[in-house]
Subunit: 187 residues, 2 copies
DNA sequence: CTACATTCTAACCGCGCAGTTAGAATGGCT
DNA sequence: AGCCATTCTAACTGCGCGGTTAGAATGTAG
């Protein structure tokens, strides 16, 4: 069946993801992607169709990676503690040399506007929905909170997570730690 | 002294500011600016020098507008209450028809990367520094908090504010209200 | 009324971008 | 070995961007 691909899809998507994650969609050009991924435009377009297509695959890969951390919330039997641990794990994921990269989904949320690609919006919404669902369900099941309370706290934690994402790009580790501790003080 | 300008600078800066605020720096083209400001490229460049120059003037105008709200924190004699009120006032400032515009400074913070114009970075840093300073000083003076505590709480509130900025662009009013109430629960 | 500094109009420029394509290189088939 | 579908290389295209500029329009000062 003819020639074989000289790269592994997941490998090049991972490289693209890191570039998009750090630089954002707009500030990542195809030139940079070619260089970072080690393949050229033709290969990118024949495999992913478009820059958007590659971005979506990067989002999916990120969701997959973070999905592992989310599963750990579900595995715990104290939701509040597990979510707090998740916040700290996220910090480790975001951390680079010096300032953090933020949450790739959070960065995307901040970059997109009304006329963004619907597939991209969908990925972001799905992630937010899934995470909120886990927060809410675990608070309900593991900590026995009332439904109304659990929902409100899940909303609160979701927004706090968005803040942590942005903050991780400009704040010191001790400021971020202090932030997380304060978030959970009232719960 | 020759011909007079057919527009008032602050008027056109205000229009530019709203465009930058809603669409961000990158997604605002000079074409849009010409249309919205009602003057053409030549006038923009002769008055502001560059797109960056106009953006910086927009940031300054925004800081001036928000500065009024910050003064109200200083005028109060209960820092926590006044800061909470500031959060709600910000929501009104951000609100549009439907979802909010966020904080213009916060949006800028999320958009810029390492190689952004230094003048822009400076505006953002100045704003953050000023706001943190007011939070910290007021908590110290009006609520008699210890210096270490006041600083930690000021950091916490600063990051919460960043979160509120992003969240105001994607969350409902009741979610945002719930968020603010939770932020201040622990203080 | 004239002179002239300044603003405005509108056409223009070079650049980097996302996306395309012709043709060479490759390697699993029979 | 040789076919041929597929991948790869590299040059190309059209477009919108930020930014520039010549020349017409305008208003004040003498």
């Amino acid at each position: 069946m003819s020639r074989k691909k000289q790269y592994i899809e997941e490998d090049v998507v991972e490289k693209a993801m890191h570039l998009f994650w750090v630089k954002g969609y707009e500030h990542t050009s195809l030139q940079m992607l070619e260089k970072q991924m080690g393949i050229n435009k033709f290969s990118i377009y024949s495999t992913f169709g478009s820059k958007d297509g590659l971005y979506i695959e990067s989002l999916k890969l990120y969701r997959q990676r973070v999905g592992i951390l989310i599963k750990e919330i579900e595995a715990s039997n104290d939701a509040v503690l597990a979510i707090k641990a998740y916040f700290y794990k996220f910090l480790r994921l975001s951390a680079g040399n010096g300032l953090g990269k933020g949450c790739f989904i959070g960065n995307t949320l901040n970059e997109i506007d009304a006329n963004a690609d619907l597939k991209i919006v969908e990925q972001v919404e799905q992630f937010r929905h899934d995470l909120r669902h886990v927060f809410c369900n675990q608070l309900l099941l593991k900590n026995g909170k009332e439904k109304k309370i659990a929902e409100a706290q899940a909303d609160y934690l979701m927004i706090s997570m968005i803040g942590l994402s942005s903050a991780s790009k400009v704040c010191t580790h001790s400021q971020l730690e202090n932030y997380i501790e304060n978030i959970f003080k009232g719960l």
